[in-house]
Symmetry: C2
Subunit: 353 residues, 2 copies
């Protein structure tokens, strides 16, 4: 209920008469129910969660006390709900996410429509103790899976075998599900940050990127390690690896509350560019993480955000040499007042054999 | 290229000067590239795929010939792309999916904006031979996993153990990833169609629902079986199980091209209601399936669609008795001219022991 009260305080600041949440992740954040529906939060008065018949029992099971749960017809849509709201709620209405079709359907039913996902991010991006505990647990499971990955990886092993073993370990360790599609890419495939459909048998001399994350009670972790199969990585691999590791360490030493997120990206990009690899660092330095795998604060050149205590973020510099190999190292971290605390942990040794 | 040509034919029918695709699944369908970007299809002229730096190499690797791949800045958005299109393309522009924010950003850059995801569904809902082969492979892997599930399920086994083993088997068998979050729910949890976060140790006398699907080269399968742990299911379980199985068989016998999808739902709902369980059949009878787990044609009371040859669909009647148990049986099927062909297959025996 605290979270809903905080939303109402923000609504009051902005003069909203009601706020309507349509995103599953937001509804989960405010009610504990994970499924689809519409949550109506008036400035004053009763909270109402509208759900379809398929989710009605689950909503009754998981939704917090103090929210009225209303079963709607399978054929109902958001316009049906909004058109039936009392008119005092329809003066200045905030929404989190709307599809264009939904927007066109509902805009004539309210006096003023305000797309205000940012308002919810102001709450969700600062994690409370319970959330940090869940992400910590997700991170521990993820770290254990990374250790397993490093044990399995080797000559003659398929990428898919590593994924299969990690998934099994993840769920056996108490994860609800993987937080995203696991990435295990080797050889020249490691130069694709997202991997892509395919499978490959690893060989001696391969670089292997493992990017994995568990979800625990609805909260995600995210972690990447880069390995080299063999005892003597070539200089090019070693140099890039050390550059990425040094960059990550330096960024993390400088990460704390009240820092501009874009300045961290700039530090990393400046170092990597000074060594001639700027054009191969093809993504942002990191991102917030929580119920969703990518949340604010973004940590990239265009980010407008200032880091706050209890943001949970990833730092993940990477260099990708097309058709050759890629290197990425990533951990999940909590931003403290004057430092960061790492939630994922596993050795940064490059060579496995 | 055939698929893009077919889209252009539909565009010509409707007088569209261009069509802009933003959905990852649609871009994959038309280009073979799975990632985010914007695909611009002019009525005449060059196809252009705009991708961010992070996906540029993957787009070059996976995108079909004949589509120009353009790297855009990480900070670019859809409005930047549309504002730079030649004006003859901006007269009547179709879009697949747009967020409300995107809609508001782009609407002033084009003469006429048309939200026309339906146009793409007219193509995607009818699968070609290559797509049916991939869904068949996904279905075979899924069926094998269901056999494994029925072997593992028993007294003292946790739901999570079953999920973990299935995930391992799925990936080892060549699946890219699970097609959705696997559902293994037992006892009173089986009355929640989507399960929900949690884990439970199964006991004798439990009903267990296993709803799983593999993705193979980007295509999904979907399959559900219901089991009873023990050799003598109580009458209530047995009666509901047989009702669901009979309903499913009857529906499948009547499924073929040129049938109204809603009429199949009506047949199932009428039978189930006549036995007194109508209010417990809390979801639609089925759905189309392909690159996404839920696609048109919808098979529910509100569906306006007529089944076509080479639709791939699921049929999944279910009954859920709150706080007691649920029963659902589901297969993935291809619609033929005069029949359906089942792609998933595993025994319909209720009792496991």
């Amino acid at each position: 209920m605290d979270r809903l009260n905080r939303l109402q305080s923000l609504m009051e600041e902005l003069g909203f008469t009601s706020f309507i949440l349509t995103s599953n992740a937001n509804i989960f954040y405010f009610t504990g129910f994970m499924g689809s529906g519409y949550l109506v939060v008036p400035l004053n008065g009763e909270y109402k969660l509208y759900v379809y018949p398929i989710d009605y029992e689950a909503a009754q099971t998981y939704c917090i006390q103090g929210v009225e749960i209303i079963k709607i017809k399978a054929t109902s849509n958001i316009a049906d709900i909004i058109s039936n709201l009392p008119s005092n709620l329809k003066k200045k209405v905030g929404f989190d996410r709307l599809e264009a079709e939904q927007y066109l359907k509902v805009k004539d039913y309210v006096e003023s429509i305000n797309l205000s996902q940012d308002l919810v991010w102001r709450l969700r991006s600062i994690k409370d103790q319970e959330e940090i505990e869940k992400i910590t647990k997700a991170s521990e499971i993820t770290s254990r899976c990374m250790e397993l990955a490093s044990d399995i990886i080797g000559e003659g092993v398929r990428e898919s075998e590593v994924k299969a073993q990690i998934l099994e370990e993840m769920i056996e360790s108490g994860s609800d599900k993987p937080a995203f599609d696991l990435i295990v890419v080797s050889g020249e495939r490691s130069s694709l940050p997202h991997g892509g459909i395919g499978d490959r048998t690893m060989g001696r001399g391969d670089v292997v990127i493992v990017d994995i994350g568990a979800s625990y009670q609805g909260y995600c972790a995210d972690m990447t390690r880069t390995f080299y199969i063999g005892s003597n990585p070539p200089d090019e691999v070693l140099n890039i690896y050390n550059l990425i590791l040094d960059t990550k360490n330096l960024v993390e030493e400088n990460t704390k509350s009240w820092i501009l997120a874009s300045s961290l990206d700039e530090v990393a990009r400046t170092i990597i560019t000074s060594k001639g690899y700027g054009e191969y660092f093809v993504h942002g330095l990191g991102h917030g993480i929580g119920i969703e795998i990518h949340e604010p604060p973004k940590i990239n050149p265009a980010s407008q955000e200032i880091l706050q205590e209890n943001n949970v973020i990833t730092i993940e510099p990477g260099i990708y040499i097309p058709k050759k190999f890629g290197v990425r190292i990533e951990d999940t971290l909590v931003v403290g007042r004057d430092n960061v605390v790492k939630l994922t942990s596993y050795s940064y040794d490059l060579a496995v054999y």
